[in-house]
């Protein structure tokens, strides 16, 4: 177990700056997920922690020891790559023991550690096979085994589940989380999949264009996103955004079409301000009366819930309905926002405006 402290870290490739001063504190034994869209710098940051990329400015410390200039092998970390990076000509056992062999650990200890890791991951029957003879999930498990045998202070995962099919991904997700709970080692995990981030992380770091947008527990991020980017990135289906001007006297939000939507209470000083209102699909309800008039455009049943795209006079909203309802395309509905669930963001800066009775 170890802490990882990333302080004001920057990365430049020549004149191009890709990481602009990132600060993250990762505590002992924590499972931290770096999440963000493609090109946000999350993998670069992980590779800097691993020692595979130079750090242009700032420091990275593992257990209070600055590791900026240490070789990867001296940082006491292990990394699992997206494409597994198993040595193709070596057997599973040889793949797992390679690092220990290079560290001149004696044969009996190597054997013991490999067996222990194989037992944890259920790899015992596969120890003599070559990577080519394994399925995707098995290969991923070998890659994890290779990391486990080294008993590192920190595990680094670089999108380890992206190459697996959907079902296996869910299974491996649980497996990695279970592994973390069992071993208690600090984990830094990179993914672009916010579902992975939400389900696995103790804390999530949302990155965008080389900057940290927000750090928090999954539910903090979901319930109280600090800006429009985080609000839109976390959650599936994504949050709905409606641009408009807040009216005086708690009247609601006046949208482009001229209609005024009821959005719950907000401080009176926000009146006249141009904002983006964010509402999660599950907080849009179908009501009998006194709602917004909407027309159904798309119906997507998933079984457990139904995603309905509705048009409310020019604004398209996605609603998530868990009840069985006879809804079909072209139907007219009345929808309303669940009280106190609207998020307000400044239209210019995208920063959250705190609501009096807003998000929890």
């Amino acid at each position: 177990m170890a802490s990882v402290t990333i302080s004001n870290v920057r990365k430049n490739y020549g004149a191009v700056s890709v990481i602009h001063g990132v600060d993250i504190d990762i505590r002992h034994g924590e499972f931290v997920v770096l999440v963000g869209p493609s090109g946000c710098g999350k993998s670069t940051l992980l590779r800097m922690v691993a020692g595979l990329e130079n750090i242009s400015a700032g420091t990275i410390a593992i257990d209070d020891r600055v590791v900026n200039h240490l070789e990867p092998k001296d940082r006491d970390i292990a990394m699992v790559f997206q494409n597994y990076a198993l040595y193709p000509q070596m057997s599973v056992a040889q793949n797992m023991s390679f690092a220990l062999e290079l560290a001149r650990v004696d044969k009996a200890t190597i054997r013991q550690k490999v067996d222990a890791a194989a037992a944890i991951l259920g790899l015992e029957p596969l120890l003599d096979r070559k990577p080519a003879q394994l399925s995707g999930g098995q290969r991923q498990r070998v890659a994890m085994g290779r990391a486990i045998v080294r008993n590192p202070k920190v595990f680094l995962f670089d999108e380890p589940l992206s190459n697996l099919d959907a079902k296996l991904r869910v299974a491996m997700r649980a497996e990695i989380k279970g592994l973390h709970q069992r071993l208690g080692t600090t984990v830094v995990y990179v993914t672009h999949d916010q579902i992975e981030a939400m389900t696995m992380a103790d804390r999530i770091v949302v990155l965008n264009a080389g900057r940290v947008e927000q750090v928090g527990t999954p539910l903090e991020l979901y319930d109280r996103p600090v800006n429009r980017f985080v609000a839109g990135f976390i959650g599936s289906p994504a949050m709905n955004f409606i641009r408009g001007t807040l009216q005086a006297g708690q009247a609601g939000l006046k949208v482009a079409s001229g209609a005024v939507m009821a959005v719950g209470a907000y401080p009176s000083e926000f009146a006249g301000r141009e904002v983006e209102l964010g509402i999660r699909p599950e907080h849009i309800q179908v009501v009998e009366t006194a709602g917004l008039d909407a027309r159904v455009e798309v119906v997507e049943p998933t079984g457990s819930e139904t995603h309905v795209v509705v048009d409310t006079g020019g604004e398209k909203l996605v609603a998530l309905i868990r009840r069985r309802m006879p809804i079909s395309v072209g139907d007219g509905l009345s929808v309303a926002f669940e009280d106190g669930q609207a998020h307000l963001f400044d239209a210019e800066s995208g920063q959250r405006l705190d609501l009096e009775h807003g998000a929890r």
């Binding site: 020692g51 990867p72 970390i77 790559f81 990076a85 193709p88 390679f98 290079l102």
Partner: protein, 291 residues
């Protein structure tokens, strides 16, 4: 159309698929090319078993009626094969593995170690493949002579290495670059030095392409004539191809013995080729397609 309807475009009335004339044409041309390639070899083997009289009186492609196996023994002695064979074997045995090893190391360094001027170095090495060695024969002779290495093994091995390596670096560099960089990064995290990564991870992965280069280089080295002719003047140091010239006297021409000598010269290269040819083909494709 129902599922039971016949497919007139794909089947003739007899129910057999129609003849693919392009495929037939390709097979015929393949056969013709094979015959053209094999013909000289058949000619050489047949002639090597004929006496001079038979060579003069029979057709080149008629099989020998009374095989003269003695031609091989006489050719062995006359071509001084016990000397030339050993010289060729020593040179090939040192030059081929050594050249491949150096090329592989250079290619690894150029492909996987970030270096200032790495690209320029590669271009300079590739430039070496563009110079025909015939142009360089006289300067090489002067150089090797200057080092006092005429009529020595190093005197011929070193120029062979110099002309072989650029081409091998070119092929291997392309191959190493196609190996995912995560593989070397994983090795680096596991604590492997560059040399260990090269030896334990890259070399085993590149066995097919190395086998292909081994064959090509072995055949080229074994058959090399011009440079050996210039650099090896002492008959005791001659290689097999030089030994063959002993059969080309001004007044005597024994075609049976000459061809027996050619067969013996070509045989080791052919055997090496046949042993490694499986890797040879997969090596060529693996370099080309592996993404």
């Amino acid at each position: 159309m129902t599922s039971t309807a016949p497919l007139p475009a794909l089947q003739t009335e007899t129910g057999r698929p129609p003849r693919d004339w392009v495929l037939i044409g390709l097979w015929i041309s393949l056969f013709v090319v094979a015959v053209i390639w094999i013909a000289p070899f058949v000619f050489i083997v047949f002639t090597s078993l004929k006496s001079t009289t038979q060579v003069m009186t029979t057709s080149a492609f008629s099989p020998p009626v009374d095989p003269q196996f003695g031609n091989y023994a006489s050719a062995w002695a006359r071509g001084r094969f016990e000397t030339t064979f050993v010289n060729s074997a020593v040179i090939a045995a040192i030059k081929v593995p050594l050249g491949l090893f150096i090329s592989a190391m250079a290619a690894y360094a150029l492909a996987k170690i970030p270096m200032r001027f790495g690209r320029l170095t590669l271009v300079l090495i590739l430039f070496g493949t563009m110079i025909p060695f015939q142009v360089m024969l006289a300067p090489i002779f002067t150089l090797v002579n200057g080092f006092g290495l005429i009529d020595t093994y190093p005197g011929v091995i070193l120029p062979y290495l110099a002309f072989g390596i650029p081409y091998q670096v070119f092929i291997l560099h392309g191959f190493f670059r196609s190996i995912p960089h995560e593989l070397s990064e994983a090795a680096r995290i596991d604590g492997a030095s560059h040399f260990v990564t090269f030896r334990r991870v890259f070399l085993p992965v590149s066995l097919p392409v190395l086998a292909a280069l081994f064959i090509l280089d072995f055949v080229a080295t074994w058959n090399e004539f011009a440079m050996a002719l210039v650099l090896l003047q002492d008959r005791e140091m001659w290689t097999l191809p030089l030994g063959l010239s002993a059969f080309q006297g001004q007044f005597s021409r024994d075609y049976g013995q000459l061809n027996a000598a050619i067969v013996m010269t070509v045989l080791p290269a052919t055997i090496v080729y046949l042993i490694f040819q499986r890797y040879f083909v997969s090596g060529l494709t693996s370099g080309a397609v592996k993404g």
